[in-house]
């Protein structure tokens, strides 16, 4: 069953703009992770936020987590054409032996 659901499914912006992607999930989690996938490639881990954290930064990435709303957001600031990719959230459900459940992804297109 799908745990994380990203929103929007697709996002098109101009270089330099900020991109915000959202993820909602259904059950209690240990942590939530964001991954990036370039076309034809494997997934690359971006950032992990634990259930007791509310915000985390990594370079141009900012992730927030609201466990009361069971939602997370990924903000990419000052986007670049090279940020064009699909972005997935994945949740580590409590009691799941660490197996991640992925959403369907947001396809981000950054136009130069």
């Amino acid at each position: 069953s799908q745990q994380g659901e990203e929103d929007p499914q697709a996002l098109s912006i101009q270089e330099g703009e900020n991109a915000t992607m959202n993820c909602s999930y259904k059950t209690s989690i240990n942590n939530l992770q964001w991954y990036r996938q370039n076309s034809g490639r494997g997934l690359v881990h971006l950032i992990l936020i634990r259930s007791n954290e509310r915000e985390k930064h990594s370079g141009r990435l900012r992730v927030t987590l609201d466990t009361s709303k069971k939602s997370s957001s990924l903000l990419i600031t000052a986007s670049r054409a090279a940020d064009t990719a699909s972005y997935f959230c994945a949740t580590d459900e409590r009691g799941s032996q660490g197996n991640l459940i992925f959403g369907k992804g947001t396809k981000l297109s950054v136009k130069p």
């Binding site: 799908q2 991954y35 034809g40 494997g42 997934l43 881990h45 991640l100 959403g103």
Partner: protein, 113 residues
């Protein structure tokens, strides 16, 4: 790169034939996973392993079997391939040293005709 090699990277096979995909890691991680990725479904877990000879089913395990005889190798077998198993298959690994982060291979594109 996380030291994960998948083989073959691309394969076309006929319906009813057996197919084995191999995942090899050089990280000595305990956990290994096989996911499939399909349009409209995202990534779905097929099987995973938490140690040598220790495996368990994931969300979409029907039609697939796995084996892990060595820490570094995790094999995914389609006993009798069907067209619905046309997909991109990703191997992934994680371990204590990686926290909960899962590292992915580059994928194996399988087409069943």
């Amino acid at each position: 790169d996380a030291g994960i090699t998948q083989s073959p990277r691309h394969k076309v096979t006929e319906t009813g034939t057996p197919v084995t995909l191999r995942c090899h890691q050089t990280e000595n991680h305990r956990y290994m996973y096989w996911y499939r990725q399909d349009p409209g479904h995202g990534l779905r877990l097929i099987h995973y392993s938490y140690g040598v000879k220790d495996t368990d089913k994931g969300e979409v395990s029907d039609g697939y079997s796995v084996s892990r005889s060595k820490t570094e190798d995790f094999l995914l077998t389609l006993e009798s391939a069907t067209s619905s198993q046309t997909s991109v298959y990703f191997c992934a690994i994680s371990g204590q040293s990686s926290g909960n982060t899962i590292y992915f291979g580059e994928g194996s594109w399988l087409t069943v005709v």
